[in-house]
Symmetry: C2
Subunit: 256 residues, 2 copies
């Protein structure tokens, strides 16, 4: 099920972990693990098996230690997830784009899309309260800089960045789910449709639902190959940026 949550722990403890502010102890045995190593192992598992496969025992097995050992390094699973998020956000290139705000927002969208495709488990994590680590902050700063100084209010800047991120999230989610359902079921969309048609015919829905039958069949035939998510992404992004453009022009030269 979708849902793992981020940002649920104690702020002081979480930020200490995210910014690696813990003073190393002087006495006692040397720690055998590091937070970095644990996060790396957790990311390997999540990338390969989805967020559902990333259990504390599974991560501990990967590192050759007992499950409870992890709790010496990380307060709990929620906080480990926070560090994983901040870590993968660190992979974003955050390129300096020559051009106007539109070119920059376009780049933001593409970079985020790549990240989602590389780490599909990100789509299964609800990030309503982002973990305020160094890479999350840098990501937010970078994305805001794309729409800074073009006449938007602070609130509108945040809205716009959130709108683009929301669009990319939804578009990639659809594409990834389509890809995953083919893997999980071992059936292409066409095969799945053809497996249902004879039973639907028996029920007689072609008469009751003529449009659904006609369009459903057309779509089933068209997309034997993997769903053309590239085209859908480009089209939707262009429409979205057109919409933002209207707002920017309205702000830079208001009529009333």
């Amino acid at each position: 099920m979708n849902t793992e949550h981020s940002g649920s722990g104690d702020p002081a403890r979480s930020l200490e972990l995210l910014w690696r502010r813990r003073r190393q102890p002087t006495r006692g045995p040397k720690p055998a693990l590091t937070v970095e190593g644990i996060v790396e192992a957790a990311l390997r598992i999540a990338d390969a098996e989805g967020i559902g496969g990333m259990s504390m025992r599974r991560v501990a097995d990967e590192l050759g230690v007992g499950a409870m050992t992890l709790y010496r390094y990380v307060p709990g699973k929620a906080e480990l997830l926070d560090v994983m998020l901040d870590t993968v956000y660190g992979e974003l290139p955050r390129r300096d784009v020559d051009g106007d705000w539109r070119a920059k927002l376009d780049e933001v969208a593409r970079e985020n899309r790549e990240l989602y495709l590389r780490h599909p488990w990100l789509l299964q994590v609800a990030i309503s309260r982002p973990p305020l680590g160094p890479h999350v902050m840098a990501k937010y700063e970078y994305e805001l800089s794309a729409v800074e100084g073009i006449g938007l209010t602070d609130i509108e800047m945040d809205d716009t960045v959130a709108l683009v991120n929301g669009y990319v999230h939804g578009a990639v989610r659809t594409a990834v789910e389509a890809r995953q359902v083919i893997q999980r079921s071992g059936m292409t969309d066409k095969e799945w449709w053809l497996a249902h048609v004879p039973h639907l015919d028996k029920i007689g829905d072609a008469q009751k639902f003529p449009l659904a039958s006609r369009v459903g069949t057309a779509v089933g035939n068209e997309f034997e190959a993997p769903y053309d998510s590239d085209h859908a992404f480009e089209y939707g992004l262009a429409r979205l940026l057109d919409g933002v453009s209207a707002l920017v022009e309205n702000r830079s030269g208001p009529k009333d």
Copy 2:
């Protein structure tokens, strides 16, 4: 987290269940339960506690029977979820709208939004292969009828309906997650931000991330009240339909 899946069972068995095509047995004790009753109980739980709260044991408890009893009526949890989906889609009003395709698509978006708000657990279910029950078919038929006869190809009709549904899904997901995180944490966004600020100040990110600090503070102050999701929804929907309009006009009077 996010994820429960739909449409994973055997097609014949699933469709038989969705369309209630099972012949009732002649011998043996009269069944104490009905599929309808089980689905009703499961919906009550999912509406109140989210999809994570809907376990087979929990549903069985609600009905005063043992967990395994449910398996006499439903092949498994995945199929029960399919019937739940088809059932709630039956709640959609599917009003006849006077007006052009835009007014109709607008209505489709609003009806779907209401449904997501009434059953937030829908947002946690990945529906890449919809359960082909009577109400899912009727929903698809109704939504296609909004864009029938305006010059789009069958594929474009499906794309357009999917685009609108995708937008609504994303917009409501953001709003619902914001609402839920306040419940779960017992903190408003402002309180959460204020709890982090002193620690972030100690780290000194205001210097490193000036834009993020400025905009983050502005957003934190603005949205003390519940996030103004109505406004965001209206704005985004208007931009989206503008984009579709461009496609429709291009199809009805192509230049090249």
